[in-house]
């Protein structure tokens, strides 16, 4: 991210912030969607993130930490959105495009469904660690620093998330196997 833009936005330059927002919005949305698994909620979380970031940018002391800082805001916006009873939606979703941007043919529908179901059962704090690690590829230490939580907590959340999702996949495999046997019988 361009330091000059961040410094200008921090000083109240709205155009500079708009440039930052345009450059960050897709990535933020992609992360929010992976955590929330809902287009509308992810959009709301990103909007909230951008507004909070704008408002609080003067408090950002280390410009180089902008990426981590805005992702931290995003994760907290996702937490808030996840627990929020939906009432007002902050944007118009005429025809939400909830499908895959690039269809993945290497995972079966059953595997995706099993992961979807398993993931939706995870609490938001486990989801966020899982997504930051597996989607953004962040090392656990960076996640801990970004979210402001101990490394042990990150490891624990990732462990629980992984265990739950593996269990969901394995349960799905057992059902598939049993169904196949019943069909054969």
């Amino acid at each position: 991210m361009d330091r000059t833009l961040i410094e200008a936005a921090r000083s109240g330059d709205e155009e500079a912030f708009a440039s930052i927002a345009r450059g960050s919005a897709d990535r933020l949305f992609a992360v929010a969607h992976r955590i929330l698994r809902d287009v509308g909620r992810a959009e709301d979380a990103v909007q909230q993130t951008l507004i909070t970031a704008w408002r609080e940018l003067p408090d950002l002391r280390e410009v180089d930490r902008f990426e981590a800082w805005i992702h931290r805001i995003l994760v907290h916006a996702c937490y808030a959105e996840a627990k929020r009873a939906r009432r007002w939606s902050v944007n118009v979703r005429v025809l939400p495009v909830d499908g895959p941007a690039t269809p993945d043919t290497t995972l079966s529908v059953a595997t995706r469904d099993a992961l979807d179901r398993g993931f939706r059962r995870l609490p938001p704090d486990q989801r966020s660690v899982f997504v930051l690690h597996h989607y953004l590829g962040w090392p656990l230490s960076e996640i801990a620093e970004t979210l402001g939580i101990p490394l042990g907590t990150v490891k624990s959340r990732l462990h629980y998330a992984t265990t739950s999702l593996r269990a969901a996949l394995e349960a799905d495999d057992r059902i598939d196997t049993r169904t196949s046997r019943e069909r054969m019988a």
């Binding site: 992609a30 969607h33 909007q47 009873a85 939906r86 944007n91 005429v94 992961l115 597996h134």
Partner: protein, 316 residues
Amino acid sequence: MTENDFDRTARLWLEDGPAELSDRVLQAALDEIHVTKQRRAWWPARRFRQMNTPIRIAVAAAAVVLIALVGVNLMGRNGGGVGGPPASPTASPTTAPPSASPTPAPTVAQGSAPSSLQPGTYVAADPFLVQVTFTVPAGWEGNIGGPFLVNLDRPDGKGQVSFSISPALYADPCQADRLQTQQPGPAVADLATALANLPGLQATTPTDVTLGGYQGKQLTLTAPASGSGCTPGPDGYALWQLPLGAVNNLTPGGSDRVWILDVNGQRLVIDSQVPPSQTAAEVQGVLDSIRLAPLSPSLSPSTSAGVSPSASPSGS
């Protein structure tokens, strides 16, 4: 499945999904940023600032004047707040509604994201176009979503009150892909009639109400229990959209009480989801506490943009 297999599967699964934010959503955020003041570095981040003691005392003086003026009007007309029993239709013209006191505004709220509210009395105004005073118990949150929306609710969905300005109605709440091409006229009655006639919803006949000196209409809207087949999906039935893009939804099977008031030429819509019985009294308390006033010139954004740093709540 080995650990590597699982990691690979997880990565493939996570890559599978939308990765572009729509321009419309981004633009709505930028529009809202345009009316959101960037706080100074030494200010605490609060959207709704609960008044600390010194401010509360200072504000109380102004609020007493304001509430006293509104209170006289309430007692003289219907004896209750917004949620109180509707006044019987009156043929007598309403006298001029109370004007805002020239005292400095107890404006304590600005911004857009919901934040928790400590129990107490708040004033929402700049950038919202009407000054709204309300009292909330513990467990509520709220935000000013720009000039056109103030929303208060319980995060568990068991209580909600919102204030809207300039709503544009959807042609069909169940198929929220387009707004009505012919929006209601500017009168309170125009909007009330149009809401009552929204397709697919049950509506009571709009009745006259006078609240705090402001005349208006009240009706209740009820959505079918099932939202299946509707394009809004889990959000429910879309009632109206505000100029910055916020959409008010009515959950399937839910009912909303709606008041439409003329606040010195500003058409204000107060909307409250009919709550479950366990929170009905709480919601009613919030509704009863509502006091309204038009924004006076002295409350323009340039002069009332929050409290001064020295007076801002400390320790937050």
